[in-house]
């Protein structure tokens, strides 16, 4: 597949979306304009744009397939066939992002140009995601959730609940600010609970600890609680 095919797929989707869901069509227009104005400032920018667009296209395809199911009952059956974290993403957060103004969206461009999106903690997150999946959990990880919703991963385990989780290696000095920003971002998107994990890479077994706390709280954290843990 050629990179320019991605633009064509966006155009196809935009056309389909204009009939099925105008909020998706508007977002796709906005993304097209955003990409058009991008002046890649770092060597990794193009890789990111491809993966971001590919991810958006796939989520948009899921959304359109869901929205074109002929009845409400059938749409509910489809959503109920998903694991809770996927159901939360496709029935709540993704459509919410489509229909609401995202004040952080245009900050992405600055981040992209300065190369900030490369994610120093990506290796840690890969270990955490792998471990959660091997233990039977389901992870949703999307650029939109990461950049706009202060959420590295959305996790569900054995119960019918899901949890938005953010990881940080910040020292205690800055932690309170980080916590406040994180909680207000979650509240803005009406995400009614969350887990912020602050880790010290020097501690032994911190990946296992992160996974244990995440899986436990994905099942048990009550609505209205924004919980933090430090390792």
């Amino acid at each position: 597949m050629q990179a320019k095919d991605i633009k064509n797929r966006l155009k196809y989707l935009r056309r389909e979306a204009s009939i099925v869901d105008p909020s998706l069509a508007n977002r796709l227009d906005e993304i097209n304009r955003w990409v058009k104005d991008l002046k890649p400032g770092s060597l990794t920018a193009k890789k990111f744009v491809i993966l971001f667009l590919e991810q958006l296209i796939r989520d948009a395809e899921v959304w359109l397939r869901l929205k074109t199911l002929p009845s409400y009952e059938e749409q509910q059956t489809a959503l109920n066939a998903l694991k809770p974290s996927l159901k939360f993403w496709y029935s709540y957060l993704f459509p919410k992002w489509l229909s609401e103004s995202d004040s952080k969206f245009y900050i992405w461009r600055q981040k992209l140009m300065s190369g900030e999106f490369s994610g120093e903690d990506s290796e840690l997150i890969a270990l955490v995601v792998d471990s959660i999946q091997r233990r039977g959990g389901t992870v949703v990880k999307r650029y939109i959730a990461d950049f706009s919703m202060a959420t590295d991963i959305i996790v569900s385990s054995s119960h019918n609940t899901s949890l938005c989780v953010q990881l940080t290696s910040l020292s205690e000095d800055f932690f309170q600010d980080k916590f406040n920003n994180w909680e207000s971002t979650l509240r803005f998107w009406k995400i009614d609970k969350g887990l912020l994990l602050s880790y010290n890479p020097g501690v032994t077994d911190f990946v296992d600890r992160i996974v244990n706390v995440t899986l436990y709280n994905s099942n048990n954290l009550e609505t209205g609680i924004y919980l933090t843990f430090s390792f």
Binding site: M1, Q2, A3, K4, D5, I6, K7, N8, K11, Y12, R15, V35, K36, L38, P40, T44, A45, K46, K47, F48, V49, I50, L51, E54, Q55, R58, D59, E61, V62, R65, L66, L69, E74, T77, A78, A81, L82, L86, Y90, S118, G119, S122, I125, A126, V129, D130, V139, V140, K141, R142
Partner: protein, 160 residues
């Protein structure tokens, strides 16, 4: 009848699940390979596609205009397409054809255009008979001829 409905329903559900799995596969590739995963999804990651994202729009506008002019002509392909797509504006058809032509594989272009020709008529709703199969062959032939014409127009636009 009820059984048919549930089979259709199951097919739609399978398609939906398939698309969710495709999104999750991409996610897991990104988690595993980081930004290098981009090379699994596009051959020309480091090419100039991003710089040309905008330039393309001008070329596209000119191309759509040229295709519209072609569709108005007496060329037998243009006449057949007009006949096939009655009720649609020529500009609308030209934009759709332009989308199809932008697919990189020639074979994909032909099938995408054939889909436009089929879906824009009531053809798809008619019960399948032997004569319909003949029509399908004709539409494929028309799509092939149309791709050739469009490619010629596209080349002219690029070098004009």
């Amino acid at each position: 009848m009820g059984k048919d409905m549930s089979i259709d329903c199951q097919k739609r559900l399978d398609k939906f699940i398939e698309s969710v799995e495709a999104a999750q596969k991409l996610q897991n590739d990104i988690v595993r390979y980081g930004l290098e995963a981009a090379y699994k999804y596009a051959e020309d990651v480091d090419g100039d596609w991003l710089e040309k994202w905008d330039e393309d729009e001008t070329l596209q506008t000119n191309f759509v205009e040229s295709v519209t002019t072609f569709l108005e002509s007496d060329d037998w392909v243009a006449v057949s397409v007009r006949k096939q797509l009655q009720g649609k504006s020529l500009c609308e058809i030209a934009t759709q054809l332009e989308d199809c032509l932008r697919l990189s594989e020639s074979e994909n272009r032909v099938f995408a255009i054939k889909t436009v020709l089929v879906e824009s008529t009531n053809f798809g709703q008619i019960n399948r008979t032997f004569s319909d199969e003949n029509d399908t062959v004709d539409l494929l032939d028309l799509a092939e001829q149309l791709v050739k014409r469009l490619e010629r127009i596209y080349e002219q636009e690029q070098y004009s």
